[in-house]
Symmetry: C2
């Protein structure tokens, strides 16, 4: 197998279908992720543009809008629920704290808009199930940016082609120093009322979990977990540090870990009967990905050109909607993560294996 040839066209958008449409987006929730990642990504995108901004006040929305040429309106949350400016957008991107996703999805579905919702979908399985039911008649995608990361798609291709033989074991990890990134101890990411059951598994542990599901094309059957919080910053959540094992339908176990209070690091390793593949760094959008492939005497590390992951994600969503296709990371796909994550917290609580 000529690996380098396999990666020559690695940035190819194998999901792209011909269309000359443009999907007009309302962005809901203008935190740093939306401002610094989503807006620039959409400016650079082929199939979508930002036309409406929704925030806690119209002033705040307008202030952000001033820098975005394509925006037609900046409105507050109440105005959004009242359908204000709904003629200016075809779809919404929901990037509020987790526990607020449902209400915006409800309104968007009422307005018959397509929906791209940040992950985790909501703060509990019950609310996520309501969200999926609510959005049953509109396109719904959960914002898994790894699904359209070329390195991850090429990794999935390699696994499909049998490069590692039968997958046996996964190791995956993601960590960052949240208290340094945002020192506010009142922030929603460490507040169970807004974030859901925890801070590390929900927000970043979902990356090794979901990416393992995506590349292995299999779903979880049971989980075990060890969680701990000692730093006062994480006093309201159980998982300043999280280690959890996920058993999959195909017999693979993924040993996952995540921490919001450790050195920034991420990797995903798949060991198989015949070889192995390691993506590292794996999950942080700023980093250039490296994929190390081993099989028999072969050992190669391929450095993969950086793409704007959020641009790819938004273009994928828009391309699917415009060509009337269901995105791969749909509501049912997202629910599997929600059930797995809830099981992780329950497993840690009970000290036992939880079936999903």
């Amino acid at each position: 197998m000529d690996l380098r040839a396999h990666f020559d066209d690695f940035t190819e958008r194998d999901w792209e279908r011909p269309t000359d449409g443009t999907l007009r987006l309302a962005l809901i929730g203008l935190g740093w992720w939306t401002r610094e990642k989503a807006i620039p990504a959409i400016e650079d995108a082929t199939y979508c543009e930002t036309t409406v901004l929704v925030s806690s006040s119209a002033e705040r929305a307008e202030a952000v809008a001033a820098d975005v040429e394509t925006v037609e309106a900046g409105i507050d949350y109440d105005a959004f629920h009242d359908g204000v400016a709904s003629e200016h957008y075809d779809a919404v991107y929901v990037a509020t704290p987790n526990a607020l996703h449902l209400q915006y999805v409800e309104t968007a579905a009422d307005l018959d808009k397509a929906i791209c919702c940040e992950k985790p979908m909501e703060a509990s399985v019950e609310r996520a199930e309501q969200l999926v039911e609510t959005a049953a008649d509109v396109p719904l995608m959960v914002a898994y940016r790894m699904h359209t990361e070329p390195a991850v798609r090429r990794l999935r291709d390699l696994l499909r082609a049998g490069f590692v033989g039968d997958p046996v074991q996964v190791h995956g990890h993601m960590s960052q120093r949240l208290p340094e990134m945002n020192p506010d101890p009142e922030q929603w990411r460490v507040d169970p009322e807004l974030a859901g059951p925890g801070a590390s598994v929900t927000d970043i542990g979902i990356y090794p979990l979901n990416t393992a599901r995506f590349v292995l094309e299999t779903d979880p059957t049971s989980v075990q977990a060890m969680l701990s919080s000692t730093d006062a910053f994480f006093s309201k959540v159980p998982d300043e540090r999280a280690a959890f094992s996920v058993s999959f339908e195909n017999g693979v176990v993924a040993s996952c870990s995540a921490s919001q209070n450790a050195h920034q690091s991420s990797h995903l390793r798949i060991v198989g009967t015949e070889g192995e593949a390691t993506l590292e760094p794996a999950f942080f959008p700023e980093r250039r990905r490296k994929l190390t492939l081993r099989r028999g005497d072969l050992s190669e590390t391929i450095t993969i050109e950086k793409v704007d992951q959020m641009r790819e994600e938004f273009d994928y969503f828009a391309n699917c909607v415009l060509t009337d296709r269901r995105p791969e990371g749909d509501g049912e796909h997202g629910l599997v993560d929600m059930r797995t994550i809830e099981a992780v917290y329950e497993a840690a609580d009970r000290g036992s294996t939880i079936e999903i």
Copy 2:
């Protein structure tokens, strides 16, 4: 920190004490490991030599002895128990199947010989405890070759110096294709009567477990585990594949995995609050080790000169005995692994966290 300078003298034997003595060794059990790894290593060693070989028949022992210049006698197991040739050795290396260790240790202790015993120490905690009790009055070392691997010792130095900050999470893995290495389905490594409770955790999962203990200088408090066997080759053991999590006294969790039926692979990663260190390959003696160190903007991969791990291990054992020091991997140290491993099988069986 000048990392390269730190590694300039990485092969230094920081454990070595002056002595001009030579420890004479009887090797018990002449399987491929003893013949292909131990004997050449001892030939190359400074502080020991092979003087007696013990096997199932004197003929077999003599046949192997023919190629080893220093050997005074080749004897069978019964002769060993009768004290034959005991004037020709000062210490024994026990490399029989696990469940047979105890009987040779008993005789060696009766003969007042120092003992280097392969890991795992025995087939059960109960028998390992008997072994330690039996050997209470003689030097006893468990053969953890990673303890004297320079790359591992330098990694421990770096962790002591705070390179990664406070350790947070460990990932460790070891796998190999046992059915290709030895296709005999009747071999002792997959026979619980001789190997103990399993094949992967006991034989190779002990590497990430024990090396994590060694470099972090902390001991396990609880474990969780997921084990599975599907291939007929592993029908008598529960762990063709093993994933287990080990929680340590210092709050770190190690996500470990091992398989006797996967691509040869090994690594040990320590993620801390300030940085991380990954040793890969980590555990196979044939491979040149690489240590990747990250902290802030620093990212360096240091390739570490290969040493004969078994030579280092035997010289360490001999140097300790000759200078009247207790080796670090003593019986009590080994018992902690035995208890942890037994807990891993129990945790998998019960589907719950087991305290140690």
